[in-house]
Point group: C2
Chain length 369, copies 2
Amino acid sequence: MKLVRMGLIGFGVIGSNHARYLGNGEVSGAVLSCICDINPERLRLAKELYPHVKLFDDYRKMIASGEVDAVFVATPHYEHPPMAVEALKNGLHVLIEKPAGVYTKQVLEMNEVAGKSDRVFGIMYNQRTNPVYQKARDLVKSGKLGEIKRTNWIIDWYRPQSYYDSGGWRATWSGEGGGVLLNQDLHQLDLWQWICGMPKRVRAFCYYGKYHNIEVEDDVTAFVEYENGATGVFVTSTAMTPETNRFEIIGDRGKIVIEDGKLTFYRLRVPERQFNREYDGGKIAKPECWKCEIPVEPGQGGQHREITQNFVNAILKGEKLLAPGIEGINGLQISNAMHLSSWLDDWVEIPVDPDLFYEKLMEKIHGKN
Amino acid sequence: MKLVRMGLIGFGVIGSNHARYLGNGEVSGAVLSCICDINPERLRLAKELYPHVKLFDDYRKMIASGEVDAVFVATPHYEHPPMAVEALKNGLHVLIEKPAGVYTKQVLEMNEVAGKSDRVFGIMYNQRTNPVYQKARDLVKSGKLGEIKRTNWIIDWYRPQSYYDSGGWRATWSGEGGGVLLNQDLHQLDLWQWICGMPKRVRAFCYYGKYHNIEVEDDVTAFVEYENGATGVFVTSTAMTPETNRFEIIGDRGKIVIEDGKLTFYRLRVPERQFNREYDGGKIAKPECWKCEIPVEPGQGGQHREITQNFVNAILKGEKLLAPGIEGINGLQISNAMHLSSWLDDWVEIPVDPDLFYEKLMEKIHGKN
């Protein structure tokens, strides 16, 4: 294959953004060959903007058409897994928008199909291209931070009521399957685990329609424990402004703080555990700490285009995926655990019980709670 | 009365510090007339440093001696309430070191006695003299921040094992009645409620001897809810270095961030709730925010000396107390609730059940858990 023929499913806000750079030829080795949408209005717009692209109103027909090598799933959350499964089963490569799905039950099924397939399966975690998070991950994975002891992310996404009122599917259990955790925090939940690893259990406090006239959560505080005993806090809201975005990671060898896009690394000259063992002065004392200026590439990285390019390169050249599709379940495990913990008012272990979560979610959708 | 004769109970590390500025005549209207300690070594040192001061080895005798108008209680935590009660009942004014006590049962008794007395009763919350916290309180109490929606304090006090090993009473249930919450976080727990008000219920995660060979907690994360629906997080540890000290308060009219002693105020031009109601653009939008440089007096204020001076002025001139003794229970309610929540692994309402907490604390002291 010299050129990957991409078929886009979903020509909404996000899909049309992907179509733009693909249609402009900004992803080398790829061509936008087909667009599928169930909304005739959107298809008319697609025809106007991309006259040479084949149009479909049924994704199954597009998948079966022989006109595409890869599909790009940019539909509402619930549809990501069934569409990905259909495409993978038909031998196509698949790039899905985040979240991977709404509940782990459906995502586990998708991952099982993907695991048996030799096709490339990616997810649009575009924040993984952000140099500041790449550097944080580098510092953790290379051992520079030492073993993690505590993580803390406060991340706000202010949204006024009018924003929620602008789309009927928004902020509903049936439309999105969640609120700030599913819609706004996708990236942070992914990056949190990408950098710090997966928590083992979660105790979360979610407030539903607390500051807005919506069904789903708009204010969350979650406490987590990791396998090694480290703890973490994740605080998020769509009602707080000015917004906070501050991510702190403390390890045995220092501390990383990312605030407003800027990373600072505090490096201990002697690891804390070693200092704790060896210091014998009997007083309040601490290891020497160096505030380090770490070079970080400016900007936010290649974002969507870079993830799509990486996906195409994976197909054409076997390049390693920056955001493998099967990792999409990780952030979802965390948000599912947060929801479930608040519904049960109790601890929830990760991985969450997929059937229990599904059952509770269905109750929410059918207004039983 | 022209001159308040102060009797100091406890000539340890903290007591001898108070003796120094009192002995130097740095508190106008006060004279250090007596010192009491049960340790003969300490009394010998006191005699050497303050040859004109009367010495006692029994606080009851000092209280009954007629030589003092006010007592300054600087003994271990557990002894503050009984000593304060004895002094108040004997018609003396009382200034106690923090914490007010170890469990609310004993502090409620003390407050009841204080409530019936016409004597001045103060507590050494010296951080209330810190201009940065006074300014934060001013912004909240004057309505500039608007109704509080979220509070968040991350406060570390790094302590190596050797520090804990240096005093047998340190970090034991019988000696201190707690760890980082009782010893290090006294000020922050008081300031948190002094500025933001008391929480209504608490769900806390305390880890006992997690990073040190001690009985008590050295790592805590606590989640709280306030009466008005606001939420809060308090994270503290003696194992994290470099230490974080970041206090954030978000209100309807803006945000205060105090980090490393510096206060920043973000002021919304239109209150958030009003913006949320009135904005009808259907998009992601937010009220205009002004980052304001607020004048704050440099330094940490008069600290111990200022609190003592204020106490003396209250006796001599009826000056209002900056830190009334009866408010000492507030921070203790919060720390007791945090302990109890972690012991029960459940929510705890404030005020805590004084008998239940006492019972559980006794179990800890007697090693039943």
